[in-house]
């Protein structure tokens, strides 16, 4: 165990690290209740920016579009990511495996500007060749998001699958269930927490993305980050602080609830 001055140093670094992570977020929240337009001068408590936010049609419709894309993306990414995770965790070695893993892991670290640009180029080339996609917007953004978020989901699901006792699946096969049935009746329930985590991860990644969406979007389709970005570029805006506060609240509640559920499951598992 760590004692004395070393534990003091560790504690200080930890405290500094958490302060570094959270001070900006708290400052956003505090100033979202500021009366003044100037984000740095406190002029009294007010909720007027929340009111203004709720009347801002541009932000609301962008949020709605982003939510739709995020839900479709998360669902698709879980499906594709589960298939890919299954291939990596269960199918052992096959010749094309290297190509497969390259395609899976590259999107994790690929700079967004490159992914965005290349997908746009593809869409334009496809449009010229086969006439699809006719216009860029929700569909192209969803495809683009799916492509990079499925890589994240794959990693989550692959690691869960490789931790899982394979003999459970073998036992089901042995007892007469066909492979597809084994997958749905045994594997899916066992890895369900990972599927949920993957879905939430893909959802957030999509909701968070500015760069790729900016490339592959077309006229008239602005996602929430695109609207936020254009408003932030013009300067600090308290409405964005209000939006940030709402997002932080939703995420905190979701994370705490999810964490609580997972913690309880873990406890159950350990008690076993």
């Amino acid at each position: 165990m760590v004692r004395g001055w070393r534990s003091f140093v560790l504690f200080s670094v930890l405290a500094f690290g958490y302060a570094f992570l959270y001070v900006p977020i708290f400052s956003l929240i505090v100033y979202s209740f500021n009366e003044s337009r100037l984000v740095t001068v406190w002029a009294g408590f007010s909720t007027k920016w929340y009111g203004a936010l709720l009347e801002n049609d541009q932000i609301l419709s962008a949020a709605w579009l982003s939510l739709k894309i995020a839900v479709m993306n998360a669902t698709g990414a879980v499906i594709l990511g589960t298939l890919a995770g299954l291939v990596l965790a269960r199918f052992g070695r096959f010749r094309a495996r290297t190509a497969f893993t390259t395609l899976i892991t590259a999107p994790l670290v690929m700079p967004e500007v490159i992914t965005g640009l290349s997908l746009l180029m593809l869409f334009v080339a496809m449009q010229n060749l086969i006439g699809w996609p006719e216009a860029r917007g929700m569909t192209t953004i969803t495809i683009a998001h799916l492509t990079f978020s499925m890589a994240y989901v794959t990693v989550v699901i692959q690691s869960r699958l490789s931790q899982m006792d394979v003999s459970i699946e073998e036992a089901a096969l042995d007892l007469g269930a066909r492979p597809a049935k084994v997958f749905f009746v045994i594997t899916v329930p066992v890895i369900a927490p990972a599927l949920v985590a993957g879905w939430l991860l893909a959802f957030t990644l999509s909701l968070d993305d500015l760069v790729i969406a900016s490339f592959v979007s077309g006229p008239g389709a602005s996602t929430l980050p695109m609207v936020v970005y254009s408003s932030v570029r013009l300067g600090v805006s308290p409405q964005i602080n209000a939006l940030a506060t709402i997002i932080v609240c939703i995420v905190t509640v979701a994370i705490v609830v999810a964490g609580f559920i997972m913690h309880r499951q873990e406890k159950q598992r350990l008690n076993a």
């Binding site: 073998e170 007469g176 492979p179 066992v190 598992r269």
Partner: protein
Amino acid sequence: MPVAQGARASHNLEAWQDPKARPIVQIENVTKAFGPHYAVDGISLDVYQGEFFSLLGASGCGKTTLLRMLAGLEAPDAGRIIIDGTDSTLIPPYRRPVNMMFQSYALFPHMTVEQNIAFGLKQEGASKAQIKERVGEMLRLVRLEPYAKRRPHQLSGGQRQRVALARSLAKHPRLLLLDEPLGALDKKLREHTQFELVNIQEQLGTTFIMVTHDQEEAMTMSTRIAVMDEGRILQVGSPSTIYEYPATRYVADFIGSVNLFDGRVTGSADGLLFIHCDEVGANMAIAHGEPLTAGTPVSVALRPEKMVVSDVKPDKDANVLRGIVSEIAYLGDVSIYHVELPNKTLVHVQLTNLARLTSSPLTWEQDVWLTWEPENGVVLQS
């Protein structure tokens, strides 16, 4: 080494010696390689109805791979597996009349005990009433009725083991495969469960094939044992045959403990083989079925409990070794003596402690003579 003689019921005990008996499992020349390593290397084996057959070997000897090929979880690279008269080499696991009990038990964590046992029956499309009846039967068999609604993580290790057994037996398999069924239990529970498992097997008459690395377990439970090493079967036989007449040095050494002496045949007469062991400078006369030509290199295997230790020079010139006692291990019922021969070879001898320890005449550094009867040694050809 205790051998559970007569622990087995007598019905069709020796099916493998009956020329008319048809084996339920025929393994023909089966080979399986993982990369350059041969896990199973050209194994042929027949197992008969009602047997409790053990595949015994150290880890990595290919026993589990062979078992998995019987279950259909691995496909052989070459050879055939015939189960109950049907060539099953390439039949997938879910279409085989075979069930398996996994080493980790592989209980479905999201299902209750009841649902686990019912799983196989559901796949067959059995009716609700049938399933209920059979699950009840199985729960009674393994004495787990009060735990029907529990989840696996709410059970003890021994209870999980019994659920796994019940689940794998629920479908009336023609053949039950057991992969180290007692491996995860502690010693006390393991001994108790050995007998329970044998009783269930006899009650149902199902053919069991078990994989184990524990020779004692194999000896107590099986009708026959196949000793495996490096993907090959070294010897197949009843526990007593394997123990009393090991076919190779490896088998002799793996099953129980043994003293091995290298020597050369000098002659034979009256079913006895005369052997001179240069190393320890002794002549031996060992009972052996067929005569061997003089000069053949052989090993003589002597079990520790098959020798007599005496502090008086015996009146024989063959089957005598002289040494001094270098270690005494008192184990309660028996004592193990390490006797050092003049050439520093250590010989292990086991004596039953008939009288109290204090009255034992043998002590450290004492000169002793080891003797044995010709029938008590085994001649092994390398």
